[in-house]
Subunit: 507 residues, 2 copies
C-alpha cells in the first residue's frame, strides 16, 4: 500500500494506485473487474445446479466467527477483496436455485442481471432528465405500457417506480388522502376529519404500516372479513363503511388485494369498485404479487375490475422475476402525485432549463435521489416480449396446480383451503405419521404447530430446499408454497414433497 | 424464436431456450453475460477518459425518435439486447467522468461497482437473516462502525440503510414523533397535540416533504434563519421554539444540517444540542452530504456536537463515492425503530424460527422488501480502509479550496458568500464581460439570472462538463460547484473555469 502524497497537479490519492481513475489504471481495473465477473459467473451457473445447496446455513454467531467481517483503518489488497466476494457468496442464499421457493421473489433472470449490472455502471439517479435521460424516458415508456395492461385507456395516467410494494402502497394512501383533502399537505391531519381506510384481514401489513407512518393511525385501518379462500367479502366492506360514516369518520381508501401474501387470493374487484363508486372512496389495488397475472391472457380475468381502480401497486420483482427491487405504483389521475408531493426545490428542479421539464419527475416522489429500477424490467420485457412473460407466468401457475393435484388427496397432507389455487400459493399442512388419525385436540394442535418450523429448520441445515411457513388467524403453522421461480420444474415440486416427507416423518 | 410447448416434465418455456435456467444453458449464458460485461468495461474505461464527452445530449423528443424504445409482444434476440445496452449507454451521462460535477453524488468507484454487481447476482432482500444472512450481518457491522464514528459509545444504537436521504430524514421524524407520543401509531395525529419541527431555511426540502407525508403538514415545519454562510442561527431557533410553545404547539424535532445542499454549510451542532436538551426536543442531524467528513481527521471538527444527536442521516453514496443508493439512518436509542414500525406480520417474521431473531431486522423498516445497499459500502471500506476514505475526502476538499482560491479575486467572478468553503461547495456567479462594471440594477439582475442557465445548456450540448446552478432566496442563478468525484484533479478545475469563460464570454 503506497500512500501517495504528491504535489503533482494530477495526483490522485487512492489506496489502489492501480485502479481507475488513477492514470493508466485501465489494465488493473479490467483485470480486477473480470476476476469479479468470473466469480459471479461461477456463482450464477452454480445457482441453477440442483446438486448444489440452496444455502450453506450457519447460525449468526457462527457466521460472525467464520470470517473476519470487521472494518478497519487500513486497506486490503485486491486479492483480499476477491476473497471477500467469494466468502460472501459462499454463505449467500442461492435465490435463483430451482428449489428456492421461500419468498414471492425468487429466481435469477439472466437478462435482468445484465440490466442491473448496466444500471450499476451507469450509476445515476432518477430525479431529472438532465442526469438520467434514457432511464427517465424508459420509465415513461414502461409505466405507460403497464397502465395499458391495467386497462386505463391509452395507458394514460401517472406513476413511479418506488423502493418496494410497501412504499407503493403508502404512496397510494398518501395520494388518496391528498385527493380528498388537499389542505392536509400544509395543515396536517389536525385540519381534516378523522379518516378511515379499509382493507381485508388477509391484506399485506404495509397498509397498516403506511397508516401509522402517515399519521392516520393503525386503528383507522378497518380490516374487512374474508371468505374461506381469503377474498374480501364485499358485503362486510359496505357494512363497515356505513358504520364508519355513522360514527362520523370519513372513509377515504379501500385497499383491495390482487394476490394476497399467504393464500394468493384475489379480492372481488368489480364488487369492490361498485362500492367505492357508491361511497366515493379511492380504490387502490395492491397487486404487488398478483399484478403479474395481467401479462397472461389465461389468468388476467382474476383481476377483472382493476381498470376501475384509482391506483395500483404492481411489483415486477415478484411474479415477473425482475431482480430486486422493482415495484411500480400506477395512478389513474395524472398530475396528482406531483401536486401531492412537490416542494419546488429550486436547487434541484430549476424552471429555466433548456429542455421539456415534464420529464423531471423527481418532485413527484417522496424520495429525492431514486435508484434506477426500471432498466432491468424494460430490458427483460424487450428480451421476452409480453408473450415471454406470459409463458413464464403460465408455467408457474401450472406448476402450482400440479402441486395442488399431487397433494390434495395424498396421505399426510391437509389443505388449508379447498379448491384449485388461484395464484401459485399452495397452503398445506404436512401431518407426520404420528399425528395421522389423531382426533382434533389441543395436543394435536400444539404438536402440529411445531411440525413446519422443524422441517423448515432441517431444510435449511441440509440446504436442500426452502419454503416458507406461518400461522394465520386460528390456523397453526402451515407451509405456504409459492412458485415464481422460472427455473422450477415438475421434478422440483416432486423433490419438495419427498423432502418434506423425509425430514418430517419422525415428528 | 422457438416457442416451446412441451409436456416434458422438465420443460422450461423461455424466449431464449439457450439461456439459463434452460438445460445446458451455461455456455450461452456465460457468453451473453461476458458480452454485456465487455460493453460495460468499455463504458467504464471511457467514463474516465477526458477526451470523451460527459454526455451526448439529446432533447427528450429527439431521444424518443433516435431509437425504438417501445415494448412489444414478441421477444428480441440476444444480439438486439446487446444493442439495447450499447444504445442506452451511448445516451447515458458518464457520472464517473472527471468533469462531471453536477450532483452531490458523482464518480464511479471500481470496488463499489464490483460490489453492486455481486449484490445483483445475489438478488435478495434485507428483511430476514434467513434469506440474507451475510448481508444482514454486514449491515450490523457497518452501522455499528458508522455509529462509532458519530461518537456514540461503543457504536451502540440502531439504524438502517434506507432508499435515500429523504427517506432517512422521514424516518427520523417518524421516530421522534413516536418517541414523544407513542400512541400516534395506533391513534394517529388526531389523538396528539399539534407538533412543530424546526429546520433551517437552507435545509433539504425532504424535511418538509416528510412532514407533509406524515400528516404533520408543511406549515408545522418552522424554517430558522441562517447566517450569511447558510448556518442555522441558534438564537433564532430558540426564539421560534419559545414562540411555538407559547402558541400551544409541541416542538418535537430539530433537524440540523451538516452540509447543506447549496452552500455546504454546517449548522452549529453544539449550540443546537444545548437548545434541544433545554427544551427536550429530538435532535436530528441531516448529514446526508456532510456525514462523510466524519472519515477525515482534518475535517470532522465541523460536525462537533453530532455525538449529541438522537438520530443522524449519512449518505455514503455522496461524499464517500459509494454507488447509488446507500443512505444510512442512525438512531441513538436501540429498539425505538422496531417499536415504532413493527406490525408483527406473522407470515414474514415467524417467532419460532431456529436462529437468533434479533437479526430479522425487517420489521423496523417502513419497507417490506429492502434492497441490499450495504455490500458496496462494506466492500469499499474493506478496500480503502478508513484511511482511504479519508484521503479521498481530504482531496476533494482540497480541490474545492483550490477552486475557491482561483476564482475569489479573478475578474468576472463574484462569490455568493465570503470565506473558504467548509465543504466542497463553491458558489459563485460568472459575470460575462458585458455585465462587468455595470451597476446593480434590475437590468443587471435579470441578465445575470440568465447567464448560468445558458452556460449550463451549452455545457450539455458540447458535453464537455456539467455543473449545477440554482437561485436561492433573493440571489439569482449562481453556479454551485461541488466535488465528490475522486477522479477530479486540479486540471479539471482549471478546465471548468476555462469552459465557463469560453461558453459565457458572449453573454
Amino acid at each position: 500500500f503506497f500512500f501517495l502524497r504528491s504535489t503533482d497537479m494530477n495526483f490522485y490519492i487512492s489506496p489502489f494506485p492501480d485502479l481507475l481513475p488513477t492514470c493508466n489504471g485501465e489494465i488493473t481495473t479490467m483485470s480486477f473487474l473480470q476476476d469479479v465477473v468470473d466469480i459471479l459467473l461461477q456463482y450464477v451457473v452454480k445457482s441453477f445446479d440442483r446438486s448444489t445447496k440452496v444455502i450453506d446455513f450457519h447460525y449468526p454467531n457462527e457466521l460472525l466467527q467464520e470470517y473476519n467481517w470487521e472494518l478497519a483503518d487500513q486497506p486490503q489488497t485486491l486479492e483480499e477483496i476477491l476473497l471477500n466476494c467469494r466468502t460472501t457468496l459462499k454463505y449467500a442464499i442461492k435465490t435463483g436455485h430451482p428449489r428456492y421457493f421461500n419468498q414471492l421473489s425468487t429466481g435469477l433472470d439472466m437478462v435482468g442481471l445484465a440490466a442491473d449490472w448496466l444500471t450499476s455502471a451507469a450509476n445515476t439517479n432518477m430525479f431529472t432528465y438532465e442526469i438520467a435521460p434514457v432511464f427517465v424516458l424508459l420509465e415513461y415508456v414502461t409505466l405507460r405500457k403497464m397502465r395499458e395492461m391495467v386497462g386505463w385507456p391509452g395507458g394514460c395516467g401517472d406513476g413511479i417506480f418506488s423502493p418496494g410494494g410497501a412504499i407503493s402502497n403508502m404512496y397510494a394512501m398518501l395520494i388518496a388522502r391528498f385527493k380528498m383533502f388537499p389542505e392536509v399537505k400544509e395543515k396536517g391531519m389536525a385540519a381534516i376529519p378523522r379518516l378511515v381506510a379499509f382493507t381485508s384481514e388477509h391484506s399485506h401489513f404495509s397498509v397498516k404500516k403506511g397508516a401509522a407512518a402517515l399519521g392516520i393511525g393503525t386503528d383507522s385501518v378497518i380490516l374487512i372479513r374474508c371468505d374461506e379462500r381469503g377474498k374480501m367479502i364485499p358485503s362486510d366492506l359496505e357494512r363497515r363503511i356505513v358504520e364508519a360514516k355513522q360514527k362520523g369518520f370519513v372513509p377515504f381508501l379501500v385497499s383491495a388485494t390482487a394476490g394476497t401474501t399467504v393464500y394468493g387470493a384475489f379480492d372481488p374487484l368489480i364488487a369492490i369498485a361498485d362500492i367505492c363508486k357508491k361511497y366515493k372512496i379511492w380504490m387502490h389495488v395492491d397487486g404487488a404479487w398478483g399484478g403479474g397475472l395481467l401479462m397472461s391472457r389465461k389468468h388476467k380475468w382474476k383481476l377483472n375490475g382493476i381498470e376501475r381502480a384509482n391506483s395500483v401497486t404492481w411489483n415486477p420483482h415478484k411474479m415477473m422475476g425482475v431482480p430486486l427491487q422493482c415495484s411500480a405504483l400506477l395512478v389513474r389521475e395524472e398530475g396528482l402525485m406531483q401536486s401531492c408531493n412537490q416542494m419546488h426545490a429550486s436547487y434541484l428542479f430549476q424552471q429555466d432549463k433548456h429542455y421539456d421539464l415534464s420529464y423531471d419527475t423527481g418532485d413527484k416522489a417522496l424520495q429525492c435521489g431514486r435508484h434506477v429500477d426500471v432498466f432491468k424490467l424494460w430490458l427483460m420485457w424487450r428480451a421476452k416480449g409480453t408473450t415471454g412473460f406470459e409463458a413464464q407466468i403460465d408455467k408457474c401457475l401450472e406448476l402450482a396446480e400440479y402441486l395442488y393435484n399431487k397433494i390434495k388427496n395424498r396421505e399426510g397432507y391437509e389443505m388449508v383451503f379447498d379448491g384449485k389455487p388461484q395464484h401459485t400459493n399452495v397452503c398445506f399442512w404436512y401431518i407426520p405419521p404420528s399425528l395421522r388419525g389423531m382426533e382434533d385436540s389441543e395436543e394435536r394442535t400444539s404438536r402440529l404447530m411445531k411440525v413446519a418450523p422443524v422441517i423448515k429448520a432441517r431444510m435449511m441445515e441440509y440446504g436442500t430446499t426452502m419454503v416458507s411457513y406461518q400461522p394465520l388467524g386460528d390456523k397453526v403453522n402451515f407451509f405456504r408454497m409459492v412458485i415464481s421461480n422460472p427455473a422450477a420444474t415438475h421434478q422440483d415440486i416432486d423433490f419438495l414433497i419427498d423432502e418434506i416427507e423425509r425430514l418430517g416423518q419422525d415428528l
